[in-house]
Subunit: 235 residues, 2 copies
DNA sequence: CAGTGGTCTAGACCACCAG
DNA sequence: TGGTGGTCTAGACCACTGC
């Protein structure tokens, strides 16, 4: 027996979804139903579902069930377009939720990056961002308040780049980017109402001003199936 | 009972590995041994191992066992440094294996990208690249032979960028990059001797010459735990 | 050949979500 | 409260690796 049982179930939904027979956000039958229909144990059905999840074709939401994944949004971190704008331009509906905002003391890493004293005040911003009501991104931002006085009184569900450009005449220019495919940490997985250990894409971004001082440091955790990064390098 | 059994095992090795008590490439005990030692079923032990794998702390090699993951290499696709060079510079040993090389007819997608007729000859190159004897990257390359006559007679285990620079005075300059965290396709998973559905990082790169013609199109599939992408954007 | 991970079963209870 | 996914057990056989 070289046929793997879970492959049937996987292939079945793989084909259905790619042929667009199942619209985005469609709920799949329950694991118990699938197990019965495909005459496999529930464990085997789950294995198939987990493979489909890894392929990015379906996702789970907490204990509510499995759903067909909508298309990934295309994101160019080097291009200073706000989340709200590029999501809208691609035909989706963005939404940003501020989970926390507070002035913190810079820890070692942040102090070093921003070239400020250890313990100096920085603005910490914790946001959750949605595409079509689906939470796709957790963002943790550290902002240099010395360079941007009063920033904490702005509407921080907006794009920071936007605020800097319009209110501070201090747009992002240069940046250092880092990407890593890794499991979402437990907290971020929970905030994205997915399961612990779920695959994700981690982005770190250090934003510099014209005079090369660090305006902000940005940590982003994306659902792996929600985003494709595209960057053009032009010399 | 709020304690999850698999968490004990996961935490145990998580701590051991982060405290560097287990050197890279150390083999873990077998799943059956772990199940017995931690008094859980083998299924539960496997779940813990899969979580550690998602974290990038351990990896599996075919049916040989589970091993501690070595550190990820840092890769800047925008910087024209060859694989051999940047791997070496970071203290590891690179190796490249040519799996296949042949002249093919351009399919629709490649013809469109390269702006050549459908069916025109292109050089297809299929390579596997290793870091410290561990296969980490599968590369599929399409090269514009019209612009680079004789390229098929070069030593194609070398960096293509290197060859272009030294032999053709036609270095890569501009490029379009795309990244996506996704499961490795079955063939690539097999070539990397990991399991199907394993998390990976997919990179697509279109390389342009000085006059904006397309020199090559590059598809890369990395083990997710083997690489961190770093790019600097300077305006 | 022995040992490994890969697949699979037929149950069970728990934690959480929605109505 | 009923249904969902999340966790878990104690087995079993298969496919492949390495000796």
């Amino acid at each position: 027996m070289t046929e793997k049982h879970y492959r049937y179930l996987q292939q079945y939904f793989h084909d259905l979804i790619l042929k667009k027979k199942m619209p985005y956000e469609t709920k799949l039958p329950s694991e118990r139903e699938l197990a019965e229909q495909f005459k496999v144990s529930r464990v085997t059905a789950r294995q198939a579902l987990q493979h489909l999840e890894a392929e990015g074709l379906i996702y789970r939401s907490n204990r509510r069930g499995w759903f067909v994944t909508p298309p990934a949004v295309i994101y160019d971190p080097a291009n200073n377009v706000s989340f709200n704008l590029y999501v809208t331009e691609q035909g989706y509906t963005p939404h940003t939720e501020k989970l926390m905002q507070q002035i913190e003391s810079a820890n070692h890493k942040i102090a070093l990056l921003m070239n400020i004293p250890l313990g100096a005040p920085v603005l910490f911003l914790h946001r959750r961002r949605y595409i079509n009501q689906r939470p796709v991104l957790i963002e943790k931002l550290y902002v240099n308040v010395d360079l941007l006085p009063g920033i904490e009184h702005e509407d921080l569900t907006q794009s920071l780049g936007q605020i800097l450009r319009t209110k501070y005449q201090s747009p992002y220019r240069d940046m250092d980017l880092s990407f890593k495919a890794t499991a979402l940490p437990d907290n971020e997985a929970k905030d994205l109402s997915t399961s612990t250990g779920q695959a994700g894409l981690q982005i770190e971004r250090v934003n510099f001003s014209d005079d090369k001082s660090v305006l902000s440091v940005d940590y982003e955790f994306w659902r792996h199936d929600a985003v494709t990064i595209e960057i053009s390098i032009r010399n």
